[in-house]
Symmetry: C2
């Protein structure tokens, strides 16, 4: 059974304020927790159902974290998932280390992505396309929000995030010696089907309603657009990120 104190602690981590205070976040769901166990994270606590424990004893034993057994109901009440699931973990957040595109690499930059579901989806897509670094504006939703972690479907274990004031950040990286191409999606840009991507670079995706802001826009060297063939006004930012990364990988 989960103690009152523990349940209270788990609840508190739904709020950014307490995640910052404890330098910890929630990972919910059997699949995400299993991915976590093989990843390079400092796990503090794992709560699982008896069934999950029986099926994964080997993976759970001999690990340095505290392990608790709870019922599916207790787990559901402790976490944010609406459906019962079999596992939940409390994990130490990573330091906000500076990230940049090394030679031959691409980094995704997010300018003011507000929706946690969108950020999580973008992390998953970045992971699919082999991008391991995402730089977020300080107005972008919190990477460690349980909805972001859930929507990333385990990809949060393979993709790193770095929050920065984007103007200062772009100022710094655009003069790197190996040369840097900065791409950004706009309604009026070059058709992405005719775009060739340089060796090393950054791809900027903008806010759900307003796109890339004017201060960040000044740093974008290549304005690109996903061509439209029908009547829809726009694409969701996660969808757009996937299409852009697919075109980038296609070369």
């Amino acid at each position: 059974m989960l103690s009152k104190n523990l349940t209270k602690y788990l609840h508190s981590l739904q709020l950014k304020k307490f995640r910052l205070e404890h330098n910890a976040f929630l990972v919910e769901g059997a699949k995400s927790v299993l991915e976590l166990l093989t990843a390079d994270f400092q796990t503090e606590l794992v709560v699982v159902t008896e069934q999950f424990y029986k099926e994964n004893t080997q993976k759970l034993e001999k690990q340095p974290f505290r392990l608790e057994i709870a019922t599916a109901d207790e787990l559901a009440r402790a976490g944010t998932l609406q459906t019962n699931d079999a596992a939940l973990a409390v994990v130490k957040t990573k330091d906000n280390d500076f990230l940049y595109a090394e030679k031959g690499e691409y980094v995704l930059i997010l300018d003011d992505i507000r929706d946690p579901g969108n950020l999580g989806t973008i992390i998953r897509i970045a992971d699919w396309y082999g991008i391991t670094k995402i730089v977020c504006s300080q107005t972008t939703t919190d990477w460690y929000n349980p909805k972001v972690i859930a929507a990333s479907k385990g990809s949060f274990t393979r993709v790193r995030g770095y929050y920065a004031e984007l103007t200062a950040y772009l100022e710094k990286v655009r003069n790197m010696e190996h040369g840097t191409q900065i791409y950004g999606t706009f309604l009026e840009g070059k058709n992405i089907h005719q775009t060739t991507f340089g060796d090393t670079g950054y791809i900027v995706m903008g806010n759900e309603s307003n796109g890339i802001g004017p201060t960040v826009e000044q740093f974008v060297i290549h304005k690109i657009t996903i061509p439209r063939f029908g009547g829809a006004e726009s694409l969701n930012v996660g969808i757009a990120a996937a299409v852009v990364l697919d075109n980038w990988r296609r070369g």
Copy 2:
């Protein structure tokens, strides 16, 4: 003020049973309702806030539907949207007319898409890429579910849906005289970046967890795959549909 009976009627349309009984569905939100007013649909009733009425009087007057004014609160209570919005409509469903790919055209086929948000997103993406016909398996979630209509962001006015038993449907269309290419996404298929798409065809997307079922698989001539470069296990079906259609349009 909305009468009790009217509120009850609006509520009932959240359920498929009553949508079928009344041959009607809900369109919620100012933006969707405005798109509806210029589209080819038989609108039965429009409920708007006074503010919305003032701003759109011309568009709302002289139309053959019943018009009601309500408060934002009443609208929120009558509909399914969690946030208040300014307009809601009741619209007659279209007949389930047979759809197929005419010469030079592509049709999207959905095999067992269960999530309304996914179906709505796919309708929006199809619309962006100029696809106007979607054929759904009978197990696919209801096109007229308010969540589908909302997620389509007005694209439901430009894209038609047709529900069919897919085996019989594919049996019928694969022998059409103008020749038909049937493409389907699988984990182990030909790299979509190296795929060329024929002049006329069908693209099948499968269920969120299980992909395309074995009976439908038999009809797929070209098995295609979105290449993966990183660690994520899968892509959401809406994301996958966008990437496939972008590759198709790229030629």
